[in-house]
């Protein structure tokens, strides 16, 4: 029979405890998949700071990750020319904003009606 020291028993108990907790959480998420969204706070849009693209100034837009000064100026110029944006998707029509760039920063942007 294997005899464990107190230290080894303690480590094994912690590993077992965390594994058990992990498997319990996994089972719960498997049975109730809608809990996954509530669980993942970091990836939820609500945790991103929001900038309204129809009212934000160039300075405010520059604070959004992956939006540089040139892009911010182009967004403001487009907004003035077409009386604002009707949807976030419309941002892709701004010169220089491609699908890849849009995917990076759209979570930070919003349109307040």
């Amino acid at each position: 029979m294997i005899i464990f020291t107190k230290q080894e028993k303690c480590i094994l108990c912690v590993v077992l405890g965390v594994s058990l907790a992990g498997s319990a959480i996994q089972s719960i998420l498997h049975v109730k998949p809608h809990l996954k969204d509530a669980f993942r706070i970091i990836d939820r849009k609500k945790s991103y700071f929001q900038v309204d693209i129809n009212t934000a100034s160039v300075e405010e837009l520059v604070k959004v990750p992956y939006i540089g000064e040139f892009t911010a100026k182009r967004i403001v110029r487009y907004r003035k020319k077409f009386n604002g944006f009707s949807s976030l998707e419309e941002l892709k029509k701004v010169k220089g904003i491609r699908e890849k760039n849009y995917e990076r920063f759209y979570s930070y942007l919003t349109i307040n009606q």
Partner: protein
């Protein structure tokens, strides 16, 4: 002087560094004066005068250190860069840092430090010596230790926020880098030799990449980004929206490896090392060695180094059965860091780290005198308040923000971080052995990291939890700290707290 000798020594050295930074002086004259002081120390028999001479000697060491650093940066590379400012140049050098990749508006950017060996402009090739930061927008996969030839334009680091007292240019200057080479065109990077770096460092970087892979396998991109910063010291993939949340609640220290993280890591290492059937001394020494390997992996930033030096002193104290953590140990850690790089004195991380630990030592010292069986909540509250008061001036000066919500946020976030570091480390260790165990630990890590961010999010929503300031200058901060020092003196010289135990 008798009780805390290192405090006076550090203050003398800091005075020398500041004198050298703000006023230029001759390096040979400083060396001559240092020799004179050493000679006087040997011939003087008066202990008081000896102590004064010793402090003067350390002041001169600080002065010499900063002057030597500054004159080394004014070398050939600086002249070459100034002469070829904005012109295409060809540079040969060795990569001496980890190659970091990050997403930018124009795509993926690689950045690393290059130890320049040779430079070629339109006229001729010159032998150069010094460090530059390379920013590469397209190129082949590179790694630490590669000797490469690149073609790009040299420029000075940008100052993004002119109002802020600390800038990216200053940050790089304090690390011995004055110039950036931008490699934007499609000229291929020539790899002259591979893996010419330090074997141990190469191994540690490879280990870190492996750990990052495990994190990426079990966590979402944002979660992995946070864990990489907390556990592995890689802040390049930290989600920007999360950074903002932590900043506004004054809990950014959670995202930077510092004393708390190192404390948990030491405990984890020691728990594992105790399995080895050997004497206590061997176990402590093994813990120190593994800790040093971890520091090599996480990068030698001031807060990590400070915590590691204090950790080693603490473990050393266990070996020699002496209480080791006090202001003297803290001053000793500061002395070692300033001897490594005198510019650390002007580093925001260095200043925050040492002010924070000084506040913890002061408040916990008072608390232990006041009540030996105090409530954990109140003890945490007073320490959290003490730390906030201690660093508030520096945070207001550098980041133009005041965050009273920190006091409450830290009471909850700090224990959560302890659990997160433990479970996250477990996930990396077990994930390298078994995918199943990695996944199970991964779910718990996800739960903890999301819960922590959720709590930070709630604290961020509390009204008057943080205020942005518009104008804070150095004088405001000097006055603030003078008042604080006066208060500390008043508390110290006041009646001793009653021991209720």
């Amino acid at each position: 002087m008798k009780r805390y000798p290192f405090i006076l020594i550090v203050f003398s050295m800091m005075t020398g560094i500041m004198l050298g930074y703000f006023f230029s002086s001759s390096l040979s004259l400083i060396y001559l004066m240092t020799l004179g002081v050493i000679f006087l120390i040997f011939i003087t028999k008066n202990p008081g005068l000896n102590a004064v001479l010793l402090l003067l000697g350390f002041m001169l060491i600080g002065l010499a250190g900063i002057e030597a650093k500054q004159s080394a940066m004014e070398g050939k590379l600086n002249r070459f860069a100034r002469f070829n400012y904005g012109q295409p140049v060809e540079i040969v050098g060795k990569i001496v840092s980890d190659v970091q990749k990050r997403e930018t508006t124009t795509g993926e950017k690689m950045s690393f430090t290059l130890n320049v060996m040779e430079g070629r402009d339109a006229k001729k090739t010159r032998f150069l010596d010094g460090k530059v930061l390379v920013q590469m927008f397209k190129g082949r996969p590179l790694s630490y230790g590669d000797i490469i030839k690149i073609k790009g334009k040299m420029h000075r680091p940008y100052i993004y926020d002119k109002k802020s007292p600390s800038s990216y240019r200053q940050y790089l200057y304090f690390r011995g880098i004055e110039w950036i080479i931008s490699v934007k065109n499609i000229t291929p990077v020539e790899i002259i030799k591979r893996n010419r770096g330090n074997t141990l460092k190469t191994l540690m970087i490879a280990l870190r990449l492996k750990c990052e892979e495990i994190l990426e396998a079990h966590l979402s991109e944002n979660e992995a980004g946070i864990l990489k910063a907390i556990l592995l010291g890689n802040r390049s993939q930290l989600p920007k929206h999360i950074k903002g949340l932590f900043m506004q609640t004054g809990t950014t220290h959670v995202l930077v490896i510092s004393g708390l993280h190192i404390g948990v890591i030491i405990s984890l290492i020691y728990v594992l090392v105790r399995i080895i059937p050997a004497g206590r001394t061997f176990q402590y020494i093994a813990t120190i060695i593994i800790l040093l390997a971890y520091v090599l992996m996480a990068g030698a930033r001031p807060s990590i180094l400070r915590a590691t030096i204090m950790g080693i002193i603490l473990l050393g104290g266990f070996i020699f059965e002496k209480k080791a953590i006090n202001f003297n140990t803290l001053a000793c850690a500061a002395l070692v860091l300033l001897l490594i790089n005198p510019f650390y004195l002007f580093d925001v991380g260095f200043q925050l780290s040492f002010t924070c630990v000084s506040a913890i030592l002061f408040v916990s010292g008072r608390q232990s005198k006041r009540n030996k069986r105090s409530n954990v909540f109140w003890e945490s509250f007073w320490i959290s308040l003490g730390v906030w008061v201690g660093v508030a001036g520096l945070i207001a000066y550098y980041f133009l923000i005041i965050t009273p919500v920190t006091v409450l946020a830290n009471i909850i976030v700090v224990p959560m971080l302890t659990a997160l570091v433990s479970v996250g480390t477990g996930m990396i260790i077990l994930g390298s052995i078994s995918d199943l165990l990695g996944a199970l630990f991964g779910v718990c890590t996800q739960l903890l990291v999301n819960a922590m961010v959720g709590i930070i999010y709630i604290f961020n929503e509390i009204p008057f939890g943080h205020f942005y300031l518009t104008n804070v200058n150095l004088w405001h901060i000097i006055i603030y700290y003078l008042i604080l020092i006066l208060l500390i003196i008043l508390i110290k010289t006041g009646p001793e707290p009653i021991d209720k135990a």
